[in-house]
Symmetry: C3
Subunit: 136 residues, 3 copies
């Protein structure tokens, strides 16, 4: 059973906590024992887990900029002038989805572990995150 | 229900779009509501999603070389002289699989989002990718 | 069906092979055709696959330190003085889980491909890894 989370991001560096929305999809599904896959549609955003607090959100931005800098050449820009080569590469390295066990009807997350959407695109985007629940 | 994709890569830096093969496995499974896990067997290749165009393929190669360079020492080489320490480390960081929701019988990918196999090994390899579909 | 793997790590840089425990959970589940999600609870450890040998374990440590160094500023430390900003960022980039197909009752891993827990926290931790099996 799938649900969609729709959100509008502010563009590059926006990090959003989507745990409550994912938990609601799990609850609505009535699945007690299974998995939930949280997947972002599109190739310039990523999903992972993080302790969602402003310091770590800044640290995630810093790491992305350090590893995949804005100021270097991207071949992507030779064909497309959207200037977001780094966005694609960052998203591909982190990955578009996370899969989390559902145990006794709840996501098996730690207390300080939230599901986050990382917006890497250079402009605000309307994002669709699919939460797919499989189990019984 | 599982299917196998077999392919022969050209070695380091080869990036292959396996979306059509994964979509065929989903279609053959008749599953309308579920997930597909696309998993590469072996520890020197990785799977993620990317807008599959030559510029980004080059950018993914550039990022891998910048982050996990060829020219530094790898302890792996002290025990094995296959010279592919960087291949293992790159593959472990990106990860061996991606899991994608199946909604109304189709993979919930964006239009510009393809499933790719990243070959990181230093020599051509015969690769087996398992597409496992779970749902109903 | 879910099982828990409990282990005590030695803190930063500890890498543990949990393949046998995950395989036992798959075997106990009697599932022949499906997937297993191996997920670490908490936000300072990660799961991926690796050829588990001491050289590559050292190389994974080296890469983590090179990409997300100990010696730089982390905003996380302004709010929390546990000094583990790098641990969170490393864990979020690698990711908390891996999902692996189960084919004919067995994990579809390569011979030299093990499931590993990467401990990134700066102190020893009691870890819970959930192995969730879905299929039939």
């Amino acid at each position: 059973m799938s649900a969609e989370i729709k959100l509008r991001t502010k563009g590059e560096g926006d990090v959003r906590d989507i745990t409550a929305d994912a938990a609601k999809a799990v609850s609505d599904s009535k699945v007690k024992d299974g998995i939930a896959t949280i997947f972002v549609v599109g190739s310039t955003a990523a999903i992972t887990t993080l302790e969602f607090e402003p310091g770590l959100v800044a640290d995630m931005r810093g790491a992305a900029e350090r590893l995949f800098p804005k100021g270097i050449e991207y071949e992507h820009h030779r064909r497309w002038d959207d200037g977001n080569g780094r966005s694609h590469v960052r998203a591909a390295f982190v990955g578009p989805s996370v899969t989390i066990p559902i145990v006794k009807g709840r996501l098996a997350l730690g207390t300080w572990q939230q599901i986050i959407l990382l917006e890497y695109d250079v402009r605000p985007r309307e994002r669709t995150v699919v939460v797919q629940v499989v189990g019984r």
